[in-house]
Amino acid sequence: MTATTLDRSNLKEIVARRVARELRDGDFVNLGIGLPTLVPQFLPTDVRVTLQAEVGMVGAGPCPEVDADPRYVVDAGGKPASIRIGGAFIDSVTSFTLIRGGHVDATVLGALQVDSEGNLANWIIPGKMVPGMGGAMDLVVGAKRVIVAMEHTQRGEPKILPRCTLPLTALGCVNLIVTEMGVIEVQPYGLLLTEINPDLEVADVVAATAAPLRISSSLTVML
């Protein structure tokens, strides 16, 4: 089979489901906007994580558990949100003390490009899209573990490159890349494919990846 046979309708679910297996019971986690916000619904019932939101929440949603007024409680994307019972509202100084100070166990976020050295580009396409970095630069520098969750390619063009061509978010910050095609670890020597979508061959993943890719001797099926 080839990459073109992958069912694209549940592509995000494949990624989110696999990322969920990276989180451990008790982890303190920050999820980026978009695909990463799907992760909590795939957590096993015995894994409870505490979600951090840049705007100032420890113990954010994911679903409303207490009364929330959108004038006063929003998520990092400005959408109406809620906080869990037992959570805490914090100011921006404390929020980024948590983020930059190494108190967040893992952050999951999207990427425009990732490269062989774990460099990340996800905040600007000069001349086209200049939304700003928000909290992303602090998150990837400060979180203990940085997991990129994204589609493997952008309209067929590789996003995993020998070297990022877009302006960087941070140097060498990425630990793990999870896509619909597989799971890739960032190692000191480069990228290592450790798991593969069972509908694909290794050659499909290699073809969709511009960076050199080592294949783990214990390559397993991505669940």
Partner: protein
């Protein structure tokens, strides 16, 4: 001396070309009445320092939409399309600052510090032109303090001394910005009597606050 004044008298402290810090995150925690009063007063050429440019029609986004802003110092403008339009037309200058760096630059400005050393931005465009200082083998950027002429603060409960208690995550940048401007104006959703906010629960002590206006929360 009472700190309680009208919204109109409060914005009389602001002149064209001034720098203004506005607490808030995508509009949540903006001082909405003060924003409208700035527009009504015809103020322009402002430098706005805020986490973001909010969303269309909401909070400080209106200052951009009404073309009252000459420069934005901010971490994110992606949810306000007017920013890109005016930026591309050369009408609006935007200085993008990582969110955690923005907050620490403001904290430095309010705390009398000469700046902050942060690992955020090393090896990126953010580092351009900034000193890199190595401490115990790790590289940090020197980021300078940030202050403003005026800070617009939004508080849920505010007592007559200007003590503030914030609701939800409308808190965000408000407490730190209340420390870093020459004139600090708080817009109260609820003006309460002294003692109604227990001293232990005061987040921003009133000594940071110059003026109180009422009628907050849209």
């Amino acid at each position: 001396m009472s700190k309680l004044i009208s919204v109109e008298d409060a914005v009389a402290n602001i002149s064209d070309g001034m720098s203004i810090m506005a607490g808030g995150f995508m509009g949540c925690g903006n001082a909405h009445n003060l924003v409208q009063a700035i527009i009504d007063a015809g103020l322009k050429d402002l430098t706005m320092i805020s986490n973001d440019a909010s969303m269309p029609g909401y909070g400080i986004a209106k200052l951009v939409e009404q073309r009252r802003v000459r420069k934005l110092i901010t971490s994110h403008v992606g949810l306000n399309p007017q920013v890109a339009v005016q930026m591309n037309a050369g009408e609006l200058e935007v200085e993008l600052v990582p969110q955690g760096t923005l907050v620490e630059r403001i904290r430095s400005g309010g705390a009398g510090l000469g700046g902050v050393l942060t690992p955020t931005g090393i090896g990126t465009l953010v580092a351009d032109g900034k000193p890199v200082i190595t401490v115990d083998g790790r590289e940090y950027l020197l980021e300078k303090p940030l202050r403003a002429d005026v800070a617009l603060i939004s508080g849920y409960r505010v007592d007559k001394n200007g003590n503030i208690w914030y609701r939800g995550d409308a808190r965000n940048f408000n407490p730190v910005m209340a420390t870093a401007a020459d004139v600090v104006i708080v817009e109260a959703d609820h003006l309460v009597e002294l003692g109604d906010i227990p001293a232990e629960d005061v987040v921003t002590p009133g000594v940071f606050v110059d003026y109180i206006v009422t009628g907050g929360s849209l």
